[in-house]
Symmetry: C2
């Protein structure tokens, strides 16, 4: 019997099958990473499984073998990508010994992300919007959103701590603010607005002391 590709069915495995299961999962991630290339380029709506396959070393049948359907694939993709995302600032947060150091480290990473990973991030915003229409996306999206909020909160807490203060805002408001700024800057950056990145940096630099 062919292995079920649906996440729900795959969770019930006996211990003996665990290594096989891990191999299966590793392959899923391999495919997801290949798919992310095309998804980041075209967005969710315009991307077909065939297009994904053509831009990768795999055939379109393999994707159907490892994923129950298109939604399953895309959920796996964004989940995998965002798992890396939420650790992006951790090194900066733990190593910074002063507010200035943290500020510069944070802003540096922020600019780097905006410029080098614009395609991946627009995919995230695409998916978050799709989740408003497609219930199948909601659970994953809400979960990722929560973890991003926590990521921002770690930065703010550390920043406040280094100044001997407490964050003057709720985690939700802080995340909304930074996410909103980032989203706007991303759109402008993608529209070839040269001032998008410096404007974002200046705004955040100005904002940080006022909210923590």
């Amino acid at each position: 019997m062919a292995r079920q590709a649906t996440g729900a069915a795959r969770r019930v495995v006996v211990a003996a099958e665990a290594p096989r299961d891990e191999k299966f999962n590793a392959r899923r991630i391999e495919l997801a990473e290949a798919a992310l290339e095309t998804l980041g380029e075209l967005g969710f709506a315009r991307t077909s499984l065939r297009e994904i396959a053509q831009n990768s070393a795999f055939t379109h049948g393999v994707f159907h073998y490892y994923f129950s359907d298109k939604l399953d694939l895309i959920c796996c993709c964004v989940r995998h990508y965002k798992a890396k995302c939420v650790t992006r600032y951790d090194e900066v947060v733990t190593s910074a010994q002063s507010r200035d150091e943290l500020t510069e480290g944070f802003l540096g990473k922020l600019a780097e992300t905006l410029q080098n990973e614009a395609r991946m991030h627009r995919l995230w915003y695409d998916l978050r919007a799709q989740a408003m229409f497609e219930p199948a996306f909601r659970k994953d999206v809400l979960e990722i959103d929560k973890s991003l909020e926590a990521m921002i909160w770690r930065i703010a807490s550390r920043y406040a701590e280094l100044g001997g203060k407490r964050p003057a805002s709720s985690p939700a408001a802080l995340y909304a603010l930074l996410d909103g700024l980032f989203q706007s800057a991303l759109l402008r950056h993608l529209a070839n607005d040269e001032t998008a990145v410096p404007d974002l940096l200046a705004e955040v630099r100005r904002l940080l002391p006022t909210i923590c």
Copy 2:
């Protein structure tokens, strides 16, 4: 010769044709409003011209007669809808005679919007995300974004004025904050989270005095 449906070509009309032109434009808006019903239900990607036509009193051919293509139609739709949006709070802003009055009026409209026009707003977020991939959307989206920022700024300015202060934040940051909060609340509301609306109201109520 059939009339060109592209916006660019239609702008060159002699004065005598102006009334005909207005009739043409009125029909466009009529069609756009019909299309918004389906677009708000299904989102940009899932909506086909045929589906729009079936859920309306028109045939799919008419849409091609009045719009050069799908993008043209959708741009017209969101433009039309957002033109109404940006005036939503104007009455509250001009009539409010105290901070409390403005706060309550604003929050009331905010809650009403979130609950009654959730479908239209998720379409806006959908389109804004699509603009990151589709250059044809960018001009309109950036323009609408600017006008929404101005709308928020009018509220904040008036709020500050009623308190004898000045807004302690930039227009961009303020809009990012409120837009981020609204977007998050909208997603939760659509996911049947009962606390989404009250949470948003509480957060904004708490935030207003701190930023103005």
